[in-house]
């Protein structure tokens, strides 16, 4: 191994160790007792190690139900985002129709509207649709196209050489078949990126579930963890950290599985 390589690995090793410190601190904090958690100056290592924080938090927050709810919301959101955004994006990238570019600008423009502004109108709409206190408001909008997803997928479709599509056309494919059988499979990295972004956004979302969900059994994971928070001065912080760490696991798994596509997709869309 050359010296350059050794130095490079050392640099990578050191910076990863630095990045790892917050995780490690969180892990140690999640194993402390209340008294130790509040100690000043803070102690890094838990003594005694309170493993039961994890089992207690699992019981306290009804984690299995909340995890299932979060998974339902995330999976349905991902499906919706991938299907609807890619369809709209394909139309913007390849089909010819009046006001196409103006419409695309309008779609992009909606990304500038802060989410809080639309909370009340959305709440009223979901109320009238009878969807309050169901998981639907948390994922159904993803089935109606998502501006960021449309932008991301449009960039991906634009990057495919037109020759593929022309060849398919000569073979007798209609526009939907070209989209479904030719263009979409060539955009897997971008689809994976969109899936991961949607997953992370939905998995960590807090405001929408707080507003739309009332019944405890329908809480998503972040709301469940938050409900452990003490009412007054802090409280149960060790549980909050333990809960947050548990909820991190699925994100890590998804990221590890899709890492190859994720990095590729983010690079090809110039989003790094």
């Amino acid at each position: 191994m050359s010296i350059r390589k050794i130095l490079a690995y050392a640099a990578i090793g050191i910076s990863s160790a630095i990045m790892f410190i917050p995780f490690l601190t969180a892990l140690f904090n999640s194993l402390k007792t209340v008294g130790q958690f509040n100690k000043y100056p803070p102690e890094l290592f838990p003594d005694p190690i309170k493993w039961s924080n994890y089992s207690e938090v699992w019981e306290l927050a009804n984690f299995s139900t909340y995890t299932l709810n979060s998974l339902t919301v995330s999976v349905l959101s991902i499906l919706g985002a991938i299907l609807s955004s890619s369809m709209v994006a394909y139309a913007f990238a390849r089909l010819q129709f009046p006001f196409r570019d103006t419409l695309f600008m309008i779609v992009l423009g909606t990304m500038m509207i802060p989410g809080v502004v639309t909370i009340i109108p959305q709440f009223i709409i979901f109320k009238q649709l009878g969807m309050l206190d169901t998981l639907m408001p948390l994922w159904v909008l993803e089935w109606l196209g998502q501006p960021f997803g449309i932008f991301l997928m449009r960039q991906a479709f634009l990057g495919i050489p037109r020759e593929y599509e022309e060849a398919a056309k000569i073979d007798g494919c209609n526009p939907f078949q070209i989209y479904w059988r030719v263009a979409l499979p060539m955009c897997k990295p971008s689809l994976a990126t969109l899936a991961i972004f949607t997953f992370m956004a939905k998995w960590n979302e807090i405001l929408a579930p707080v507003i739309y969900i009332t019944t405890r059994e329908k809480y998503t994971l972040p709301v469940g963890i938050l409900s452990l928070k003490g009412q007054w001065t802090g409280g149960n912080d060790q549980y909050l950290v333990a809960g947050a760490l548990i909820s991190l696991i699925p994100i890590l798994i998804v990221f590890l599985i899709a890492e190859k596509y994720f990095v590729e997709g983010a690079r090809s869309s110039g989003l790094k």
Binding site: V34, Y40, L76, K127, D133, T134, T215, V223
Partner: protein
């Protein structure tokens, strides 16, 4: 063949999504939405909202079950969540016309709801069913036209908490009811210790390397109940005049109070805003046993006990003119303006049960979360608590006062915090800070009241 298969796969995905949508919507129609549950003509279904954490939620559900047993014609469904999220949701619900029929309001938010027309005037019901003298905080929700917007649910009152171990270590006498702010500072100087173990009276004391502080007095964000506000009041100042629509920050009394505070911060005997940020949680210095004193509310005892602190309480010290003040927050039940006559009556039954039933009051008090609103029960509960000088909380009721909470409390407090931060950090003079804060707070008030 393959083409056909993928297309049918796509179609089935769409179909299952559509099925799911209908399934979920169908489910909604059957869930306990109070609006839809009028099948039983006898039973009134109420939707009640309250903020909670796991223990308070458990206790509230127990009390609700007992209430419903006594009132079989009333069914109460609940909505709950942590404090911040609960109110976030409630505001959306009110705006979207879907508010609960009754809810537990943070004491400082009652006027916010009242002056925006979200809650009912309960004056007549109170006069009919409750005798005012028996309860604490009955005047807290009184509007300028005599309206009463809520009935107390639990009382918080600010006192001076002190760490007995740190007082003993410094060889000092514990604070008592006769203490003044000068005595607080004197004791704080002796308890503040730097990294080399010298106290703040020592000429070689290093205020930049403090390891134990004498007194935590908050600038923001909790200073309104646990810091600058009660201090200013005891110095004869305040934030708003009695109309609650005019800022009176730019006064010599306020200047004197804030200068007293900033002086302590500059000398390192009180943690300044930057020090508190470095602790992440502003309550941490006292909770972790490295601060000798702190102003805090009744509920804080629970967490301090959990942290294993050896502490006690004394009334908030008197100001230079002997003036006394204890900040009080009267969390209250309010009834939604949208509740019809029947629901209002049912909601009132619950409020009456809460206020008058001694057992319910005792049960709630067992959480240690708030002082019971019924004076008789409060005395009984607090005198039986021998772990600390609990009578201090009741004695402080004599000089308790509100936090100048009005319809724009949250907004004016934010304006104050932002304007005063440079003054608390020593980057700007107190005089300048108060002038700026006065203008900023007045702007907020005018934005609401002069529209």
């Amino acid at each position: 063949m393959k083409r056909k298969r993928s297309f049918s796969l796509f179609l089935s995905a769409l179909l299952s999504a559509a099925l799911l949508i209908t399934a979920c919507t169908g489910q909604q129609a059957n869930t306990g939405d109070p609006q839809n549950a009028k099948n039983d003509s006898e039973q009134i279904v109420l939707k009640m909202g309250y903020y909670s954490d796991p223990p308070t939620q458990k206790k509230m559900e127990e009390l609700l079950a007992k209430f419903m047993e006594k009132h079989p014609n009333i069914k109460i469904t609940t909505e709950t969540g942590p404090h911040a999220q609960f109110f976030q949701k409630l505001n959306t619900q009110i705006a979207g016309g879907n508010a609960p029929d009754l809810w537990l309001s943070d004491g400082v938010k009652v006027f916010e709801f009242a002056e925006r027309g979200a809650v009912k005037d309960l004056r007549e019901l109170i006069e009919k069913d409750l005798s005012k003298e028996e309860y604490y905080g009955m005047d807290a929700n009184k509007g300028p036209g005599g309206e009463v917007w809520g009935v107390p649910q639990g009382i918080q009152i600010g006192v001076l908490y002190y760490n007995k171990a740190l007082f003993d270590k410094a060889g000092l006498k514990y604070p008592d009811a006769n203490w003044t702010w000068d005595q607080v500072k004197e004791a704080a100087e002796l308890m503040t210790i730097d990294a080399s173990g010298k106290n703040a009276k020592d000429p070689s004391f290093d205020p930049n390397k403090v390891s134990e502080y004498g007194f935590t007095i908050f600038s923001s964000p909790v200073g309104v109940s646990r810091g600058w506000f009660p201090l200013m009041k005891t110095f004869g100042g305040g934030v708003l005049d009695s109309s609650l629509q005019k800022a009176v920050l730019d006064t010599p009394e306020n200047k004197q109070a804030i200068e007293w505070m900033v002086d302590g911060m500059k000398r390192g005997i009180f943690p300044d805003p930057v020090d508190l940020q470095s602790f992440q949680d502003p309550f941490k210095p006292f909770l972790s046993g490295v601060s000798g004193m702190q102003i805090d509310i009744y509920a804080a005892r629970v967490k301090m006990r959990e942290a294993g602190l050896n502490f006690d309480v004394a009334p908030i010290p008197a100001g230079p003119g002997g003036k006394r003040f204890a900040p009080s927050i009267v969390n209250s039940w309010v009834i939604s303006k949208t509740a019809d006559e029947k629901k209002t009556q049912a909601a009132w039954e619950w409020i009456k049960y809460w206020a008058t039933d001694d057992e319910a009051q005792r049960e709630w008090a067992s959480l240690g979360e708030a002082i019971p609103v019924k004076k008789k029960v409060a005395e009984e509960v607090l005198t039986s608590d021998t772990s600390l000088n609990a009578k201090v909380f009741l004695d402080s009721m004599e000089f308790a006062g509100s936090l100048d909470a009005n319809a724009v409390f949250g907004e004016w407090r934010k304006a104050f915090d932002e304007s005063m931060f440079p003054a608390f950090s020593g980057e700007e003079s107190v005089e300048q800070g108060l002038k700026k804060a006065n203008e900023a707070v007045q702007k907020v008030l005018d934005g609401f009241y002069k529209k």
